[in-house]
Structure formats: C-alpha cells, structure tokens
Symmetry: C2
Subunit: 346 residues, 2 copies
C-alpha cells in the first residue's frame, strides 16, 4: 500500500487531521472555496457546481472532519447547550438526561451534560467549564446552589434555566411538589383506612430539610394530614439526606408503630428503605407511597402508589424558554402524575 491512499492507511497516530487547506491543495482551489462548499454556502458564494462536486468528493475520500473548535471560534454561535445534573443513576435523572439530549438535538443544539454528584464545588467547576466551551445556555438541574451558578452565567452573558429546583434571578421549571405530595399522602391515608380501618399520622422519610423540593413535599404531606384532621408528631418527619445508606440508618433508628404508613421522599430513599426491609420485619400493618417513580418500585407489596414527575412536560417548558427567553424570572410548576397501584396485594 502506498502512502497516497489517505483515508485507508490508519494506525499512524501522529497523522494530523485533514484540513480545508489540505483539500484546497489537492483540488487546486482556495481554502475559502473549500470552506464554502463544505458548509453549504457555496451557491451564495458563486462556486460552480463542478468545483463544488470535486471538492466534496475529495473531502469524502480524505475522510475530512471539520474542526469545530476552529469553526465555532470564528462563528458567533456555538450551538452548545449545557446541563448540569446531580446524578445519572436513578430513573428520574436518567430520564431527564436522555430526554434532554433528544430534545436538544431536535432543536439543532449540541448537548453536553455534566454530572455533579450534588457537590457544590463540582457544580461551580462544571458550570465554569461549560462556559469556557462557550455554551449558549445552561440548564441547571437539581443544583445545591443555583444562584451561584446563575451569577457565574450572568457574568458571562449566558442564559441559565433552572430545572427541578427553583432559583432566584433565573427562570425555573419545577414539579408541583406540593400537590403531588398532598395527593400521594391522601392516597396512602385512604388505602390504610381501606385495608386496616385505621388512619394514623404517616411518617415522612428522606430528603434534606433545607431542600426546596423536600420542603414543598412536606408542606403537601402536612396539608393532607390537616385536611384529614390529623396532627403529625415531631418524630414522624425524618430528613437525613438523599443517600440510600442514610435512609437505611434512619429506619434502624426509629420504632414504627404496628400500624404504620410511610411517605418515602425519592426512589433513592426507597432504595434505603428496601435495604432495611431485608433485615428487619416491617410492622404487621404497613403501607407506603413514594415520591418519584421506578418501574420496580411498583412491586414492593406494601407500595400503594408512586408520584411520577412529568419529565417530558418539564423539558418541553425548558426548551420553550431556550427558544424564547421569558421576561423576568418566572417559576413554572408542572403537575406530577400520581400512579396508584392496585389495592389488596399484601
């Protein structure tokens, strides 16, 4: 094989990628013509179809790949849309990431997602990096300190949109956590009445006391109790964070009554609960409901229903804001979907 078969002789790691100058040389044309042909502006620039054809062919068999670094440097828009997200590995955030990518592509944007492990330092770091790549817009999902990120973006003139958690000074799209939690609490109470003829105040487990979503859900939880004429004792609300281990430990630390109902705040907390269930017998009369959805969560026999956040609707709203920046900093609440499970299963 001679050196000339360009795209074929691989293996050489020192070979630099083909540029428009290489192609210009081969075609006996100028780099600007090559550029025009390859980015589709050749008609406007009055390049002949003959030359356009020749250049396209050469680019093809040289395996040309545009250098977006260079292209974007020159252009005014990067078409990069960034997202920072706490985790990938649960269904809620997994679904957000996946839908976000799909919708971004559908809008002709290049999505870059970074996962920040709920660590404030990583969030800032990730935001900086996305800004350095000149992202046009940043979607800030479930951030611990969205305002800090918002300031960073504002300083660079980049728009930021909050998802999942609200923040001052930027548009936010969140679930209607209050209504979702209230409805779920009602459901658990109703099922307990139906199955056990009793309606004790429920326990609330998981999340962080200062987290907006947890607060809203707790508010809904309380509202449902209030409307049922129930008072929730202090010890019934247990918020030690989102990690599964923390929930597992918390469960070991309390004594549930013989007839108990549990409001589980997130599938991660549910995972902890489920670990606890392996080694401890649940109370004889036991029901639970979970805020957030997981396909397998439905198969816990005591689970009466799950609240599913409407990821599609949330992202649709986010992209509305991307397309048409809103006035001010609206807070949009998207209704959740309550999925009750069939009764009488355990």
């Amino acid at each position: 094989m001679t050196r000339k078969d360009s795209a074929q002789d691989d293996l050489d790691p020192t070979r630099r990628p083909v540029t428009i100058y290489d192609i210009a040389q081969i075609a006996g044309a100028s780099a600007s013509s090559v550029s025009a042909v390859l980015n589709g502006t050749w008609k406007k620039r009055r390049i002949s179809a003959r030359l356009a054809d020749r250049i396209s062919r050469i680019a093809e068999d040289q395996g040309y790949s545009i250098n977006l670094q260079a292209s974007l440097l020159r252009r005014d828009r990067s078409r990069i849309i960034g997202m920072i997200i706490p985790k990938y590995d649960n269904r809620y955030f997994g679904a957000i990431a996946e839908r976000f990518e799909g919708m971004a592509r559908a809008h002709g944007l290049f999505p870059v997602i970074t996962c920040t492990q709920r660590e404030p330092a990583l969030e800032i770091e990730a935001a900086r990096e996305l800004l350095a790549y000149r992202a046009e817009c940043l979607i800030v999902t479930g951030a611990t300190d969205p305002e800090r990120v918002a300031r960073l973006c504002a300083a660079s003139g980049v728009r930021a949109i909050n998802l999942d958690l609200p923040g001052r000074g930027m548009p936010s799209v969140v679930s209607d956590n209050f209504a979702g939690a209230r409805d779920l609490t009602r459901l658990i109470l109703a099922r307990m009445a139906q199955d056990f003829g009793a309606r004790p105040a429920l326990h609330f487990i998981g999340g962080r006391a200062h987290d907006h979503n947890t607060r809203e859900r707790l508010r809904g939880f309380m509202a449902a109790h209030a409307e049922a004429g129930l008072t929730v004792p202090d010890g019934h609300v247990i918020m030690r964070g989102y990690a599964a281990e923390k929930t597992e430990a918390a469960m070991s630390g309390i004594r549930l009554p013989d007839c108990a109902g549990l409001f589980v705040n997130s599938t991660i907390a549910l995972e902890g609960l489920v670990r606890w269930l392996v080694s401890h017998r649940p109370p004889p009369q036991f029901r639970l409901g979970c805020f957030d959805w997981d396909p397998f969560g439905a198969f816990l026999p005591q689970n009466v229903g799950m609240v599913r956040q409407d990821v599609g609707a949330m992202l649709a709203k986010v992209f509305d804001f991307v397309e048409a920046p809103p006035q001010g900093s609206p807070l949009v609440q998207i209704p959740c979907v309550l999925e009750p499970f069939p009764a009488a299963r355990g």
Copy 2:
C-alpha cells in the same frame, strides 16, 4: 451603577466575553503576558510576580473565562474524551456514565457523553460530532456497529475503545457474560431443586439473537444445563429484543409450565416481565434470576439472584487503555459479581 463595574452589570446579552486582549489593555501589558499568567506558564516565561499578580486580579474582577475553543485550537491536545452510550435510564448504563465522568475528571480529561438510543444512525452521527470536537479518544459503549465507528475513528487517527460489546480492530473491555450467565443459571437450578424438588430446563428471555452479549449469556445458560444433564427445548429461548414491551408481549405469547424457572436477560427485560406479572398469575412454582442488577429487582419475591456487572473494574481497565494504548486489539473480560438473594421468600 456606572458602566465601569464590569462583572456586575449583567443583563446585557450583546456583551462579548472578556478576552486576554481586554485584560492586556487594562493592565497595560501584552496579550502574551496575560496568556502566560493565566495558564500558569508565567514563571517559565519570566514574568514578574508583580505583573502576574496584577493581571490575575484584573482577570478575576473582569470575570474572565478562557475561550477553550480558541485555546484548544492552538494546543495540540483537546483533553476531551468522548463516550457514546445507548441509554441513560437504567442502572447499568447510568452507573457507567456516572463512573466514566468521575474517572475522566480524575485523569484530567473533559468527558462528553452522548446517548444514541441503540440507533446505528445516531451512533455514527454522534461519533462524527465527537471527532469534530477533536476528542482524543472515544469510548464506544454497547454500540450496534462498533466496527463502523472504529473505522471512522481510525480515519481521524483517534483511538477508540469498546466497552460492554467487543469489536474487531480496537481494544475491548467486556463482562465475562459466559461465566456470569452460567453461574446465574446454576443458582436458579439449585434454588428450584431446593424449593420445589424439581429441576426443569429453564426459559431464557430477552435480548437479541445476534447481540454478542446475548449469545455469550445463552452459551453460559446452555453450559449450565449441559453440566446438569438437562436439554433445553427450542421454545424455551425467547429473544425478541431489549425493550420492556417486547418482553411483556413475548411472555403473553408462551405458556409456562406449572414449575418454571426464568433466566431474564437484562433489567429492561425484567421490567417487561414485571409488567406481565401484574396482569397474569405466575405459575404456582416459579423462580427467576436476572442478568444485570437493579436495587429494586431484589424485591421480586421469586427472584433468586442477580448478576451485577463490575462497572468499576471495567472502567478501570478502559482507562488503563486510555493511558497506555495496548498493542493490537486485546479483548479483556471482566468477571461479573453474582448476588444471590436469601432463599425461602415466596
């Protein structure tokens, strides 16, 4: 507020980001000095600490953010490492994405992940895009056509590493699907013998017949039957794809014997099975095991165990290859971890 408070007066979307030239102007220094100071090479370039300090301070309060597009264009390395992955929204791929990001950052690389929905066209598209961003290396996870991607990368002189599925012509890191499936099959058979005193040939459900992993797992499934002196009837192997709906439909299409054991090939198939279980009664004597792990899968009462792929070990090997490109195209198999669940639960 006067116009001079640079980083503070936000809101103006037409404002261009601050460049090293702006800073040079303010500092009364040259752009090259600013560049040297801001990228840490100033000592080597014999810039005085005094000037370095002044420049740093100015950069700080101008809210300077380097334009990586420009920086990377000039440098030889992009430090971008790309990954294409079929989905985010199951625990296996979610864990891969999350670990990958963490490890990439630990190696000083910028991870960019793209999710391809198992669509060959999207895979190629995504690979092209990552190459256009001049990624230094591409991790190809669970691709439907890894060789095509490999050719694309080779043509650009970019290294590609296969993860989860092997491919010719590039290093591959995959699970030891054969051993994992064999061990899981043994476990299911043993539990059925223990619980029901019977050991019928199991059913295998989920996956695609031409998928490498499915083939290997089927081989392990068969090997375990063979060593137990069992023959697997033709109708027992049902491979109609990975989607949950397909598994659900497939389950409705077969009649399980009264004493049945199921090898479920992936948690996605398990999700389908679980949907089927809602509306249909399982056979009176029923056990299952699942290849792939999910925290909630453990709570299906008939589930005797799950095979967990060792994502940490797989990615560690991948990054070994990233750091030190191997000779040739080795295929590394990483052992899976079988997690048996406590017996006597249903």
